[in-house]
Structures are given as structure tokens and as C-alpha cells.
């Protein structure tokens, strides 16, 4: 393994997120095959691989939307393999979806408010009006994502690209420790990609937010990621910096065939 992985170990940091022997089958199809990986706090890691290599499935398993057939997932030192999705979210994990899912019949603003950090909330608290801090944060994020002119529009009426941005905003609302972005750049105009790139970098440096990005846009990955995993047929094919990975023969073969 190469330098960036060692960096975490050098500083004796515990991984923020680790997967051990992660396996997931769908009927006869093995989507994830005894996958091992570790992500350290503050990193921005890329996850690439041909279609069907198991990237989104991995995200599903990490957020507990799907269960594992075997293996474990450890988040912040806690074994979350059997936890419920909302519990993992409370611990500080956020995610966007490849096929974006926003709450279509709610307004953009409500979408944001509902995505805030729910940890420690009681049911009764939700009968009261929303906290001004939350609203402020929502507005700030919406402005940053250039969606503020649509605040009270029904989310379902937004264009595809706008909905993807909204999803990113919703993922950032709870001030998560780890953000899983599934193809955040697709369908978004290049100027905005720049802004998002800056924001991710800013969050990573200032707040120590960790990111794991699934991407096909190699430019995006190259700009941001200190480390890249390559997945193929549910297994880790390669790992390293984006240059190393792009020159890896196995990776080239996986993408383009021989």
C-alpha cells in the first residue's frame, strides 16, 4: 500500500469508517465480496469502478439501508453492522443517492429542515416551531447552492440538476462527520462543480469533515481526493492516489477491457 494510507496509520489515528469482510449477495449475484477498507478522519476519498462494481451497494450497506450477509462495518469505533439507518445517521453519517430522492411534495425549505441532525430529539420537540439556528443554516446552505430563489417551491417541481443540489444540501445539513456522495457532480453545471469542490475542501480542512465520493468524473476526483479506491465485482481492485490508480493496469483493463 502507498503513502496516503500510511499517513493515517502514522498519526495513529483510528479509522473513522472501516469495513471488514463486507459481503452482500442479491440472490445469486455477489455485489460485495469480502471487502476490506478503512477511511481516516479528514480524508477525501474517491470510490470508482465500472458500472455494477458494487459502489452504490456499498453505500447502501454503510447507511444500513441494506443489511450485510457477512462482515462488519465500524463507524467511529462502534460496530454499526446491525444498527438501524436512523441510528447511524445520528452518529454523524450522511449520504446522497445516485438517483436523487428528495421529498417531492414538500417545499425545498422543508426538505432542508427535515434533514437536520435529529439526535436526541423527542417527538414533542417536533411539535414546536423549528429552531432559528436550523433555519439559518438551511438558508445559508441553500444560498451557497444557488437554490435560495426556490426556497418555497415544491421540491418535485425542481429540475434534475437542482434536485441533486438539494440532496447535497440535505446531506450537509446535519453537520455530519462523514459524507457519502454518490455521483454528486453528474448533471451539475461546471461552475457549480467548482463551488462544490471548494466547499468540500473547505469543510474538510476547517471542520475535519470526511468525504467518500463515488464518481465517474475523474477531474472531480483528481481535484479533491487524496486517495482513491477502485472497486470491481465487489472487490477492491486497487488503492492509491488518483494518478497511481489511473495508471494501474488492472484498473485500465477493468474499465476498458483488454
Amino acid at each position: 500500500m502507498t503513502a496516503p494510507l500510511e499517513k493515517g496509520k502514522e498519526n495513529n489515528m483510528e479509522p473513522l469508517l472501516a469495513g471488514i469482510g463486507v459481503t452482500k449477495n442479491f440472490g445469486g449475484l455477489t455485489a460485495l465480496n469480502k471487502l476490506d477498507f478503512a477511511i481516516y478522519p479528514g480524508e477525501i476519498v474517491g470510490l470508482i469502478g465500472p458500472n455494477g462494481s458494487g459502489k452504490t451497494t456499498l453505500f447502501d450497506c454503510l447507511t444500513r439501508v441494506q443489511g450485510l450477509d457477512s462482515g462488519r462495518v465500524i463507524f467511529k469505533g462502534v460496530d454499526v453492522t446491525k444498527k438501524k439507518p436512523y441510528q447511524v445517521a445520528h452518529m454523524g453519517l450522511a449520504r446522497t443517492f445516485q438517483v436523487f430522492r428528495v421529498y417531492r411534495k414538500l417545499s425545498v425549505f422543508e426538505n432542508m429542515l427535515l434533514s437536520r441532525q435529529w439526535r436526541g430529539e423527542t417527538l414533542l420537540r417536533q411539535l414546536k416551531p423549528s429552531h432559528p439556528d436550523t433555519e439559518e443554516r438551511a438558508n445559508e446552505l441553500l444560498e451557497f447552492l444557488t437554490l435560495d430563489h426556490l426556497t418555497h417551491e415544491l421540491a418535485g417541481n425542481l429540475s434534475g440538476g437542482q434536485q441533486r443540489l438539494l440532496e447535497i444540501g440535505m446531506a450537509l445539513m446535519p453537520e455530519p462527520d462523514l459524507v457519502l456522495l454518490d455521483e454528486a457532480a453528474s448533471g451539475v453545471n461546471p461552475v457549480l462543480i467548482e463551488t462544490i469542490t471548494d466547499r468540500i475542501r473547505q469543510l474538510s480542512e476547517k471542520e475535519g469533515t470526511t468525504f467518500l465520493l463515488i464518481e465517474h468524473n475523474m477531474g472531480f476526483i483528481g481535484d479533491l481526493c487524496s486517495r482513491v479506491f477502485v472497486l470491481n465485482f465487489g472487490q477492491k481492485l486497487a488503492e492509491g492516489t488518483s494518478e497511481e490508480v489511473m495508471q494501474n493496469e488492472d484498473v485500465i483493463e477493468a474499465y476498458f477491457g483488454s
Partner: protein, 373 residues
């Protein structure tokens, strides 16, 4: 056409209209008060058939029958709005909601001394109406918590059918438990023939419920219910404890429905397993909410009102055929007007949820389901 719709919309939804309506409804029975009523002739009065009180019917513009009719309509509106809490807002289409109505009815009846069981504890008899009604709601809510923890795990149509099965099964179980239900004989509650009281009670509850649901929708809890309907998996993943929310909504709806069941039992004076757990009641709730617009606050109110008058005015003339009509009407509504009246008013922003509930059962929608939003 659009102009006309806009005008109707303006009238139906304005606050002024609502206040005027409310005032009319409140004052109406006063045309009934102050004159002699059969009630004044004591307990015997309940035995006297309406026809003998004909001097009432002739003299008064607002008769007992009218009040009863309106009371029934209010109850319908309450039940439909209530059902909408689980069905329309949260997206769990409950085909057996009437079970809570029946449970509330029987609980209230037993507490008010109607029990036929010799060993029924004295502490639990002869309660007065108000605590009995509230207790009816509580019992129903407890049952909801119990059954909901199992059924709310099921998705879509399985939930619907499981609840329908619950209704049917509870009906049989209650029928068979003669100690609680009186079996075929049913239960007789203390007689209290006071139509105006029930009228005002149901009117009050109706106004309160509409207000409650309207308020609830604006709270975060209400929004989270809609979120659960739109994307339950996504909501759960974003930190919402969906199980807790679903059960809370389910239990609340059950409590209200159960209480109303208790009130209805008292008003009816007689209940048995068949009429308390009448299957058509749930379908009424579903149909009226759909007709009005699933998942909106005004939907059930509109739908219930329209349906009620349809039944009472039009179909009572075709009494024999009306059930057939209703079956056909359901088919027509589902196939041709699924978004309901509210959906017709405001296609884009109506917030009606039938399409969304449907889509939610097919996350990767089939190519036929075009986005009609």
C-alpha cells in the same frame, strides 16, 4: 372553466366562508330548542317511535332527524380526516381503520354499564359518559400500538390487507366473546335521547380535529409524516426514526377514532359486533378521502360532504341499488379521478398523495408511470 374553478376555490377556502358556515351550524339547533321535546316525557320517551312525536315534526323546522343527519355527517368528516392522518399523510393505506371505532364503542359501552357479564367489575361500570368516551379512545390507541408494531412493518398493499384482516378478525373475536359484546344480543347503553347534545359534541370535535390536523401538518412532525410517505427509506437514512413516527400517527388517529366510536355508541344506544365493526366504514373513509384528495387537510372534509349528500339525497331514492352504485363509484374514482377534488383544483401544488404513495411502492418506476406532477 378555470375562472369558475378559481371562483369556487376562493369561496370554499376563504376564512369568511368557514366562519359563516360555523355560525350557521352552531345556531341551527336553536331552532329546535325551547319547545317541548319528547325527551321531557322521561325515559319512556325513547320507546316512543318518532311518528308519535309528530307534533314535533310538524312544528319545528329543524327536527331530531335533521340533527341526526348532520351529526352523522360530522362523524363521517371526523373519521375521514382521521384516517387521512395515517393513510394520506403517512402513506399507509389502512383498510381496517374501522376496527378502532368498534373497539372504542365497545369499551365505552362496557364502562357505562352495558356489560352483560355478571362478573364485570363494579369499578368499571357506571362510568359517566365523558371519561368513558376518553377511555374508549385510550383502549383503541393501546390496541393500535400493539397491532401497529406488527403491521406497520409491512409495506404497501400488505399493510392494507393485514389491517383489513384485523378488522374482520377482531369483529369475530368480539362477537364470540359474549361477555364483552353480548354476542348476538349486543349491548344496550344507558338511554339518553338528546340529539342537540350529540350534534354540538360532534360539531365541536369536528372543528377541533380539522384544526388539529391543519396545525399538525405545519409542524415538523407533520412534515416528517409526509417525508415518510414520500421516501421512507430516505427519511430513515436522514435520521428520522420512522417507526416511532408511524406509530405515533397511527396511535393518535386510533385514539380519536376510538373516542368517536364511544360517542357514537352512546348516541346509538345499541351496539353489536356487526354494526360497530362495519367493514363499509373503513371503505367510506378511504373513498371520501380519495374523492376529496388524499393527503390534504381539506380533502376528507370535501369528500365526506359530497359523498354524504350524494348518498342522502340522490341514492336514498334508489335504496336497493345504492350499494352497487357505491362499488362502481369506487372503481370510477380510483381509475379516473385518483387525485380527487383537491387534485382538480390545483394540479401542481395540490399536495395530494395518491400518485406519490403509488410511486413509493415502486422506487424504480416502470416506464409506463409518467410523471404527471
Amino acid at each position: 372553466m378555470d375562472r369558475i374553478i378559481a371562483i369556487i376555490q376562493g369561496i370554499v377556502f376563504s376564512r369568511r366562508t368557514h366562519i359563516i358556515l360555523l355560525v350557521i351550524l352552531v345556531l341551527m339547533p336553536l331552532l329546535h330548542f325551547g319547545r317541548e321535546s319528547c325527551k321531557d316525557e322521561g325515559q319512556l320517551a325513547a320507546m316512543i317511535p318518532e311518528a308519535s312525536c309528530s307534533y314535533l315534526i310538524d312544528e319545528k323546522p329543524v327536527t331530531n332527524a335533521t340533527l341526526l343527519t348532520f351529526t352523522q355527517m360530522f362523524i363521517l368528516i371526523i373519521l375521514a380526516s382521521n384516517w387521512n392522518l395515517t393513510g394520506g399523510f403517512t402513506g399507509y393505506i389502512d383498510f381496517g381503520h374501522a376496527v378502532f371505532f368498534g373497539i372504542g364503542a365497545f369499551a365505552t359501552a362496557n364502562l357505562m354499564g352495558a356489560s352483560r357479564w355478571e362478573e364485570w367489575p363494579a369499578l368499571l361500570s357506571d362510568w359517566s359518559f365523558w371519561p368513558a368516551m376518553a377511555a374508549g379512545g385510550l383502549v383503541a390507541a393501546l390496541f393500535a400500538l400493539m397491532i401497529g408494531s406488527a403491521t406497520l412493518r409491512l409495506k404497501g398493499p400488505y399493510f392494507s390487507i393485514a389491517m383489513l384482516g384485523t378488522l374482520v378478525a377482531v369483529r369475530e373475536i368480539v362477537r364470540v366473546s359474549k361477555n364483552f359484546s353480548g354476542g348476538g344480543l349486543g349491548l344496550n347503553l344507558p338511554i339518553y335521547l338528546n340529539r342537540p347534545m350529540f350534534y354540538y359534541l360532534s360539531l365541536t370535535i369536528m372543528v377541533l380535529i380539522i384544526g388539529f390536523i391543519s396545525w399538525l401538518r405545519k409542524t415538523e412532525f407533520g412534515a416528517s409524516l409526509v417525508a415518510i410517505r414520500e421516501d421512507e427509506v430516505g427519511a430513515e437514512m436522514r435520521g428520522i426514526n420512522t417507526t416511532l413516527h408511524k406509530i405515533a400517527a397511527f396511535g393518535t388517529a386510533a385514539f380519536i377514532t376510538g373516542s368517536v366510536g364511544g360517542m357514537w355508541a352512546y348516541q346509538n344506544t345499541f351496539i353489536d359486533a356487526d354494526i360497530a365493526f362495519q367493514q363499509t366504514r373503513t371503505i367510506d373513509m378511504v373513498m371520501m378521502s380519495m374523492l376529496g384528495g388524499l393527503g390534504t387537510v381539506a380533502g376528507p372534509v370535501l369528500g365526506s360532504t359530497v359523498m354524504f349528500w350524494l348518498r342522502d339525497v340522490v341514492w336514498s331514492n334508489f335504496l336497493l341499488y345504492h350499494q352497487i352504485f357505491e362499488g362502481i363509484l369506487l372503481i370510477i374514482i380510483v381509475l379516473f379521478v385518483p387525485e380527487g377534488i383537491m387534485g382538480m383544483f390545483d394540479r401542481e401544488n395540490s399536495g395530494t398523495s395518491l400518485n406519490q404513495i403509488i410511486k413509493g411502492w415502486f422506487p424504480k418506476s416502470s416506464p409506463d408511470e409518467e410523471d404527471s406532477q
